[in-house]
């Protein structure tokens, strides 16, 4: 299935959870967060959240700023 992750198209196996995506891209420790289709996906629910084709995922982390 194809999703948009941080503005780029990405192919993922069907049934991929947000936790699996986070573990591969950003790490699942403190400091990262994700929104799916414009809504915050709380980290406590990542393991149960199965992604679907066409979704837009934004994965953010803290960086120098402000």
């Amino acid at each position: 299935m194809t999703l948009t992750v941080n503005g780029k198209l990405m192919q993922l196996p069907a049934g991929t959870t947000l936790y699996q995506l986070m573990a591969g891209l950003a790490g699942v420790g403190r400091g990262t967060a994700a929104a799916v289709d414009g809504v915050v996906a709380p980290r406590g629910g990542w393991a149960e959240l199965e992604l679907r084709a066409g979704q837009h995922v934004e994965i953010l982390t803290a960086t120098q700023g402000g």
Binding site: N6, L60, Q64
Partner: protein, 257 residues
């Protein structure tokens, strides 16, 4: 000045200098500046992981022993700012947020309508909201009434180093504030930070003045000294300005030659 701490939403700080972490050439230089500043709280921005190194800035700040204050820099609407604040809360485990809602890239000035809207939404959602605001006493009042934990008026637009362009407005904001007033943005050099404190601000937040200085750690030390000096002067009570001279030496007993 351990006897002169200040408090935001029940949290006590022994430094009245808050540091932004943007603009430093490297994390090592940023860390040295933070140590030299004596600050107890630093801001961070939330960005896509593919344009940032995950965790590194947080590791650096943890090593410095400072509190992390996420911001909503880059947001243009209340909707974007609220979503970014919620992501920061989930990522960092803090409900404190430096709220920035910027109108355009040219001025980087806050959009007052979106800012107030975002502040109301975030307060209702349980956030401790520290809004970066225009130097407008009426907007500062509205933000305070909305439940913000501090108000953070600009001295001048972000990154300009123009100092405090409207000191009268800063004094008006200070005069009626019941929450801490933190001068945020526009600081160019140490005297600007001292002036902010002399005008009655509770603290100063700055980034570029230190991170883009030729010697960031040295400028950080200068800012720390300036904030302390300005605060002491504000507490001491300055003499009134006079049109004409007033002798400081005794006028009686002068010799006649």
């Amino acid at each position: 000045m351990a006897d002169d701490t200040f408090t935001i939403a029940g949290a006590e700080f022994d430094s009245r200098l808050i540091m932004g972490t943007g603009g430093a050439p490297s994390l090592a230089i940023m860390a040295a500046a933070i140590q030299a500043s004596g600050t107890a709280m630093c801001t961070v921005s939330m960005r896509r992981v593919d344009t940032a190194t995950p965790g590194s800035v947080l590791d650096m700040l943890a090593g410095c022993g400072v509190r992390v204050l996420p911001n909503t820099a880059g947001c243009r609407t209340a909707h974007e700012a609220v979503l970014t604040a919620r992501l920061a809360r989930d990522a960092l485990g803090t409900d404190w947020i430096k709220l920035e809602v910027i109108a355009d890239d040219h001025t980087l000035l806050p959009d007052p309508v979106e800012l107030l809207d975002a502040a109301e939404l975030l307060v209702a959602d349980g956030f401790t909201v520290l809004p970066y605001t225009n130097d407008d006493p009426v907007l500062a009042r509205r933000l305070q009434r909305a439940g913000c934990a501090a108000v953070m008026p600009l001295g001048a637009p972000i990154g300009t180093g123009l100092g405090i362009r409207n000191r009268h407005n800063i004094e008006l904001i200070v005069a009626e504030a019941e929450v801490p007033v933190i001068l945020d943005a526009g600081i160019g050099t140490a005297s600007d930070a001292a002036l902010a404190m002399e005008l009655g601000c509770d603290a100063v937040l700055l980034a570029s003045a230190v991170t883009r200085a030729q010697d960031p750690a040295l400028m950080a030390a200068a800012m720390a000294a300036a904030v302390t000096a300005g605060r002491l002067a504000a507490r001491a009570g300055r003499i009134p300005r006079r049109h004409h001279a007033r002798a400081s030496s005794p006028t009686h007993g002068t010799a006649v030659f």
